[in-house]
Symmetry: C3
Subunit: 531 residues, 3 copies
Amino acid sequence: MPFAAKLGRLGSRLQDPEWRRYGILLAAGKAVGLTLVFAVILLAASILGGGSAHADDPKFTGNDIVNPINTFWTLLGAFLVFGMQAGFTLLEAGFCRSRETVNVLMECIFDTCLCGLCFWAFGFAFMFGHGNGFIGMGDGKGHNWWILHNAPATYESTGVAFLAFWLFQYAFADTCSTITSGAMIGRTAWLGDIFYSLGVSGFIYPIVGHWAWGPDGFLATMGSASTDGSWHFLPTLGNSFHDFAGSTVVHTIGGVIALAGAIALGPRLGRKFKRDGGGPMLPHDLVVGAVGGLILWFGWYGFNPGSTLSAMDFQGIGRVAANTTLAACAGGMTAMFYGFPQTKKWDLGFTVNGFLAGLVAITCPCYWVSPLGAVLLGGVAGVIVVMGINLMEWLRIDDPIGAVPVHGMCGIWGTWSLGLFACGHFGASGPNGADNSAPLTGLFYGGGVGLLEAQIIGNVTIVLATFLIAIIMMKALMAAKVLRVSAAGELEGLDLHEHGIPAYPEFQMVPSATAHGASGSHGDAPSKAAV
Amino acid sequence: MPFAAKLGRLGSRLQDPEWRRYGILLAAGKAVGLTLVFAVILLAASILGGGSAHADDPKFTGNDIVNPINTFWTLLGAFLVFGMQAGFTLLEAGFCRSRETVNVLMECIFDTCLCGLCFWAFGFAFMFGHGNGFIGMGDGKGHNWWILHNAPATYESTGVAFLAFWLFQYAFADTCSTITSGAMIGRTAWLGDIFYSLGVSGFIYPIVGHWAWGPDGFLATMGSASTDGSWHFLPTLGNSFHDFAGSTVVHTIGGVIALAGAIALGPRLGRKFKRDGGGPMLPHDLVVGAVGGLILWFGWYGFNPGSTLSAMDFQGIGRVAANTTLAACAGGMTAMFYGFPQTKKWDLGFTVNGFLAGLVAITCPCYWVSPLGAVLLGGVAGVIVVMGINLMEWLRIDDPIGAVPVHGMCGIWGTWSLGLFACGHFGASGPNGADNSAPLTGLFYGGGVGLLEAQIIGNVTIVLATFLIAIIMMKALMAAKVLRVSAAGELEGLDLHEHGIPAYPEFQMVPSATAHGASGSHGDAPSKAAV
Amino acid sequence: MPFAAKLGRLGSRLQDPEWRRYGILLAAGKAVGLTLVFAVILLAASILGGGSAHADDPKFTGNDIVNPINTFWTLLGAFLVFGMQAGFTLLEAGFCRSRETVNVLMECIFDTCLCGLCFWAFGFAFMFGHGNGFIGMGDGKGHNWWILHNAPATYESTGVAFLAFWLFQYAFADTCSTITSGAMIGRTAWLGDIFYSLGVSGFIYPIVGHWAWGPDGFLATMGSASTDGSWHFLPTLGNSFHDFAGSTVVHTIGGVIALAGAIALGPRLGRKFKRDGGGPMLPHDLVVGAVGGLILWFGWYGFNPGSTLSAMDFQGIGRVAANTTLAACAGGMTAMFYGFPQTKKWDLGFTVNGFLAGLVAITCPCYWVSPLGAVLLGGVAGVIVVMGINLMEWLRIDDPIGAVPVHGMCGIWGTWSLGLFACGHFGASGPNGADNSAPLTGLFYGGGVGLLEAQIIGNVTIVLATFLIAIIMMKALMAAKVLRVSAAGELEGLDLHEHGIPAYPEFQMVPSATAHGASGSHGDAPSKAAV
């Protein structure tokens, strides 16, 4: 009997009093049942929930509760990463000479302000917008997200409030930009600083960063065939490029631009390298420098665990935080011991550089390795950073804070190390929790060389492209005579020359500090720290 | 047929075996149905929830989950705002002369302790209790909340744990109190410090603050007719006074008391003003001062976003955090460029003051403006603060840290700016999320002058009342000869005179620093920062 | 009629078309009913939840939402406690002499790295593993948790991710280890530092800590009869030992080892005590020292509130945070006033020590006392710490930073004070909220001496055992000639001797600072702070 006919028969039967009674009984039963269902649900909620959930409470169980928690988590991460600016400022200020300290302070603060305005005006749209594999342009549907206009309420599928995600990513961009300045201390003119900072914050970081972290960046989509006709890079590679919290995107980019800057500028006046009978210029306040390092470590707890963008992945955030810690501990330890034979002293600069090296290295693989892997790869980073400092000295490149060894070299190592140490248990973080259905496995855990290949290809692509762009920009600024301060200004000291005030107007400095910083008379320990 | 009769017929029918069978069948169906409903719910929970929700888990969906999340958020805010004390201490210490540094440290710490005890003993009850439009007195039902006795479990309708809310508000009170001390550095006797701090922390801040933030404060209820017979201020105005996180309540009050203190005290011995051929006394440690500013910025992420008291309003906290950042960036930038022609130097003091000015200004409107609005009003604040510093110099008022321009003037600007920039999309935050049904709209967004009027009336009322009370208190303390240290003590230096120890016992200071701080020989850049 | 017969009759009736129709009608009704139930649930969720919960949202209501929130809370605690390292480093560096400052920096950093590796390798397993009353050994089922292998997903019944809990506890272990170093500043050889740090971080802290905080520690199970045949300590006592966040476990242990270290080492060369006509060596940078103290206070908001391991206990975290604040405020205040008559100066060292004393004291009882109790017991701690500093001076024990009075003595006072001030309303924190069914009540609140007894027994047991082990270790290291640096090295200064660089290479120090620190010529105020 077709359904229409049944309905018809039901209609005619409802004329029949007997049938009508059955119908009424059924409806009444329904009502009683529904009431019972809700009563039991409410009773359960009020008993089990400790009695504080009243019947008229709004109920939150899905995105309505998950999005606030994940936004909260992301904002904590953003705050901590922003806090790293205090750490960078102290680290750079402590490890430079007193005569260039105010310049360091101004640079860090100015950069933070400039980067915020750039990232608001267009940087974020370039980096995290849809567009093509090379640059983002807003939502890809006609809104370019410049000055954050027409942005949606939440970012993509994260469920995180758009402006919270923006703040988190701004703090990252600011970090990249500050790293660069570390290698250019003491001889960069203020105008040059303004120009190159604009280039880094506004263009190089967001655009190159898009390749790896943009929704359609060509390194993010690398390794698989395109399903929508767009171009994919190396579609048969089988693995895409992974960088959890930015060993490549933040640290390698920052370190490589720093290298280009240091090369273009040349060394500070009076800087003699080791093989010419000199050595690094001494830092001027190790308390400030060392505490800056510790504050950076503290801020890294926003950098890495925050990068899940999800507290619902609670195993993930715990693992990332623990791995971050262990890599730092191992890096500080190996750098201290590895550096000891060189000077027969327990060197503070090496040790601070060592734990920062561990932190930079674990930044890419932190989600996918085991604690043992974190200890091993962090320990290797501590050795690399000491070797890297020596290499820079040998190459006669003046990197006052060691930005290139720490961020550049250990950023590269950390990115590659994922291909070795990914332990095969962890896949991807998501708003509702982890999705470990497609875990990453590195060479040492039986995963073969596929992941390592993808990591090397992605990292080397970014290293080469960034260096090329950066060296052209820096050389052009040198050619335009805006990048390097005049020799007279440098001899007067950047602080007096550009900012009209010394950092410590009431303190008596030793005479040797006047022109070139204190001589390395207390041994040749290359006590520098990195940014 | 009436329901009673139906029930009677049902009763008699249940005697009939045939009808009984139908009844049993119906009841069995009900049971199967209920079982199915619960089975599906549990299955869904365990599948979708990743399998970790067991059948015997307590269920949290309403206030039982929202209150912990919002309390957690409020506590994070409280911790960050408390952390601002480290920032204030560094900023004030770095920008004062070395000879008054220990005094600054002691003042900040003592104030933090005193304010805690006052706010516990009665301050909180005055400010956040029910009472009348002018002062709070506990719950308004006979419990005065002194020493927090008889306080309820959660504060009003926020759902936030009472003691967590108390801590958050204590951290705000402490901020206001510390702001005041910034303009009184270098010549305030310790006893005077104790007395005026007691006045500020225990009475002026909580009582004046009640007017705007108390549950029945007369500026909070301003603009609408009373429904319960109580007196309302300007009941036909149509708008009440809004101050999201305290441009008026914390910063203007603090800045205005600071002004009264600086006027009552007069300048430090040896302070010559610009139009008398002198200039500001130089700071003594710019690293310490600049990093203090950055730590304040960091702490502001508790101040403004925390003031939602709700992480459930996740769009709101993201917007407030981003607006806070952008106003700071814009303020630092405009202050640096606007101050440049004055000295032809890129001045650190102006720049630090500039981003603090942006932060103070955005504190009131942060919830209701767009990112573009934040950039614009923050940028204006950066100009105001430089003009304000020059104005204070011209008025011959010695404000060593610039507390009046930054907190007083930019607090006023920020409060008024809401009437201009409120963008018409956002209403009020609440425990379960935003309620944007009655959005605020400022003059520039087509809202007319109504909101601007209310903001000016509320702000000016507080400025005038606070200044009047504060100048009476300060003048009375001067008259009683407890506010200003003796000339001999001031010449010896407050540190040795009051605290028996210099800040840097092992460092050699330049001779010129002994009595009056270093002379401004490095140009007349007024490098000061604000608290 | 038995159920089987009914089923049989139902089967035969379904042959009957009339009965079949009823059956179909019933089934259709069921389907309609179920649909209605789900429609109403979804509608309610989408209306009440602000429309953001879609029908296909996963639903989170039990452990699936509670565990992420509590893990998030625990991680925030871990980050803040880790941040205390910056505070300790500044406090120790500021209050020591300049010549031993680099050594202090290195010690704090090295310790942080070493402690991380030890706690990863075996320390955590010793402390938080199952085993017996004296030492833990992993899960007690054959997995020893060394290098965290085979650890479960969450720790015990907390629901907190295992690695998040590990990080939180690592930060605590690191604190204990750093406390120890405070009393040993200025004369400990670097090798000695390595060895004793290994002993403290790897063995003493985790093993003694297990007694109170391990799942089966003998002080945790003290006072009740065993139900599983295992040995219980004082099974008839009636109360177990309570230490909410570690007045005993972290601070007393740290302070007692510090005492053993200071006794074994003897005073620094040139240190003359008060009754021999001398006094404490002066600190060298009070800004650094005081801000270090404030950063410690900030970090304490992770230490105490974080120790609930649960944000769901939202009344609890609010109360703990407020109590922590009030005890610090009271301690700073009483120490300042109590210390005044001694020197007729408002002493910064006493005041910083005072609020730290309040923080140490409230660490044990913070969950169980009222705000009034917190003020009282914190205030007492501020007096104890001043008396303790004087006592150490009289005993001729050189504790440069006051680690023993602050952490040792006030840790003891805080632990005992629970037996006096527990207010009788609060029981235990748990993942889903508080369980106040068995509240703790102290002597002053009518609870008799039972709790006080248990606290004294537990605390004294740990004090005696720790001192015994520590003095043996320290004396053995002295006998092996690795603990104390050579006299020549000490006179050269630890920084140059062990680390090859002074802390301030460009600053001119006063001549008196060269060998023994600045003389106490600015009065005999014993301005020291504690770690």
